[in-house]
């Protein structure tokens, strides 16, 4: 309490203009920036995975399982920032038990559970089932048992059963695409439906969130595929080129939507335009203009436009090594840009007063629940989980047993 008072006193010194007295404390801090960033990665990675299954983009096949495991690793962590942010985390289950059906936020539990249990886990299970059975047969010790348990007793790998798995995966992916849209569109809706806040209140916000999610998901899988490829000493350049092209298309769409939102606000020039203009040119200049727009969007767009074969063939032909480097650089810049997007929505939306007469500041703490360290840990844990998943369920083509051992089929 003492620390909080001191911190709020500092903020009070830096307020410009007039803000309501209750607005000195910023309500949603770094943890709530991390939350939409993580769900965005989940939705994006899943949509990338479905490109291969539903739309038959064969080039990106090597990333299919990696994308699914990435989505799972991040989805498992997604509720944590929300939970840690609650004033009473011990009451969090009330959202499931006694939800207020008029509240968008109350839908979180159901959408999350649906996505985790019905879509992601089921798709991964069906996709891996045949391999799990074969691995369990060939292995010994703990790994064998883990793989055997993961089969859930369904060890039939006859052609008919495997064909059923394939159909099931396709069906779940088809359900999964709208579900992924729902998962992240819903997060956008949480912000977009707050009519009290002119920075958030926009019907475009859920759609912008969705496309930025796709961008961030593809970029993350590209980074992971590249880095793991370096370790494994092998990747398919065609896959990377295709990923980069898709990244370019998604980024174009995302940027167009953001620009549309921007121009629309500027042209309508509602009551809030003055304070929002001041907000952008002062408090958000670095995170919005520099990080989100220039280095997070325009620069990678230019790089990908020139280097990737997004227009059929690359505008400039670079050697493979250099191309990979440009892809990696662009994807990292895009990640920074998308994180800035989340920051600008969540934090930016709270830096101006609802009286539209003043601006406040956000003082990010290093330690404590709302501090930088906790958020860094939350962003690091999915990578640890992903490492474990990749070890247990290798997503690489060469790890997949191609031939069932003799006499094993059809039992």
């Amino acid at each position: 309490m003492q620390g909080l008072t001191e911190q709020l006193n500092n903020v009070l010194q830096q307020v410009s203009g007039y803000i309501y007295p209750n607005e000195v404390e910023l309500q949603w801090s770094l943890l709530i920036v991390v939350y939409p960033y993580i769900t965005g990665l989940v939705a994006g990675a899943f949509i990338l995975a479905s490109l291969e299954r539903v739309f038959n983009v064969k080039e990106v096949e090597p990333t299919y399982r990696l994308a699914l495991l990435t989505a799972l690793a991040f989805l498992l962590i997604a509720p944590l920032p929300l939970l840690l942010h609650l004033g009473h985390p011990e009451r969090s289950l009330e959202i499931f038990l006694t939800p207020n059906t008029h509240s968008a936020m109350a839908m979180f539990g159901f959408i999350y559970a649906w996505y985790l249990a019905v879509v992601l886990l089921l798709e991964i299970w069906f996709d891996y089932r045949r391999d799990l059975v074969l691995w369990a047969r060939n292995e010994h010790g703990l790994r064998r048992w883990i793989h055997l348990i993961l089969t859930l007793g369904a060890t039939d790998i006859s052609e008919a059963a495997v064909e059923f798995d394939r159909k099931a995966v396709r069906f779940i992916t088809i359900i999964g695409i709208p579900s992924a849209f729902l998962l992240h569109g819903y997060v956008g809706f949480i912000f977009g439906s707050v009519k009290a806040n002119p920075w958030w209140s926009s019907v475009l916000i859920p759609i912008v969130f969705l496309f930025s999610a796709i961008v961030s998901g593809i970029a993350l899988v590209l980074i992971l595929y590249l880095l793991t490829g370096l370790v494994r000493r092998g990747f398919e350049m065609a896959c990377l080129d295709k990923l980069a092209s898709f990244l370019f298309y998604a980024l174009i769409l995302d940027f167009s939507l953001e620009i549309l939102d921007f121009i629309h606000r500027l042209y309508e020039a509602e009551e809030s335009i003055k304070i929002l203009s001041t907000l952008i040119s002062t408090r958000l200049f670095l995170s919005l203009i520099v990080l989100q727009a220039l280095t997070g969007t325009v620069l990678p767009l230019l790089c990908l436009a020139f280097v990737s074969p997004a227009f059929g063939r690359p505008l400039v032909r670079f050697p493979e090594e250099l191309r990979r480097l440009v892809y990696l650089g662009s994807a990292v810049l895009i990640q920074i840009g998308i994180f800035s997007t989340r920051w600008n929505v969540v934090i930016g939306g709270q830096l101006f007063s609802k009286s539209l007469r003043g601006l406040t500041v956000y003082k990010m703490a290093l330690t404590g629940m709302e501090g930088l360290f906790v958020s860094v840990v939350l962003l690091a844990v999915p990578f640890v989980l992903l490492y474990i998943f990749v070890k247990l369920l290798p997503p690489w083509k060469e790890s997949s047993p191609t031939q069932p051992p003799e006499g094993a089929a059809g039992d």
């Binding site: 209750n22 969090s92 009330e94 207020n100 936020m105 707050v194 709270q350 009286s355």
Partner: protein
Amino acid sequence: MTPEAKPPQAIAGAPEQVSQERREFLKQCAAAAPLLLATIAVAEGVAAGAEEPNYKPEEHYYGMGISVNKCIGCGRCVDACKTENNVPREPFYFRTWVERYVITTDGQTVVTSPNGGIEGFPSTVSEKGILRTFFVPKLCNHCANPPCVQVCPVGATFLTRDGVVLVDKDYCIGCRYCIQACPYGARFLNPVTRTAEKCTFCYHRVVQGKVPACVEVCPTGARVFGDVTARSSPLARFVRFNEIQVLKPQLNTEPKVYYANLDGEVR
């Protein structure tokens, strides 16, 4: 017959013994019954006391009237509110506060509310160049269409039958969505309870037939409390004899705090 087997008479006597025990038990129950009933009665009394036995919420529909012309910015309402409702004294938590508007001849509007106006306002340095100036008390608008109630994921904040928006602090999970959804900045997170908090129209006083603390202490009668629907209430008179405006009507929240002589600059 095995040595352990009981003689027939012993077996015959068993029901007698059981029924004796039953009688004892029933006797004890009978003795304890008045105590049990008394406990239930006390518990019921406590529960009824919490709701005021003679209070009928369906007979009321509350609102507040604020006469901007009468407010002198003394801040007594802010102080009374903090005392009455045990609101943290730090200058970041207010159930009600007072704003001062100074509009200059060159069209500038300067709004201030130092510490919510609890200690009044320092005088303006010069009256030259001031076109008009006035004070505006603010509080929860107890909207008839409250966005805070809509967004609460667990229903911890709710609209009572008598038209008051309340927060159940034993149920609130502290997600702060309601604070974001309130267009008036009327809510805050209590740093002690870690739950959302706001003006209750001093509901604990209202159900006893008293007026809210801020209304009670206002030396100029700038705040009027009462039934919106009752024809003879002070609020009904206030609404009838003044030109009324509400804050941010375009948001369709249907506030029940009615301002008389509200300036267009007030948001």
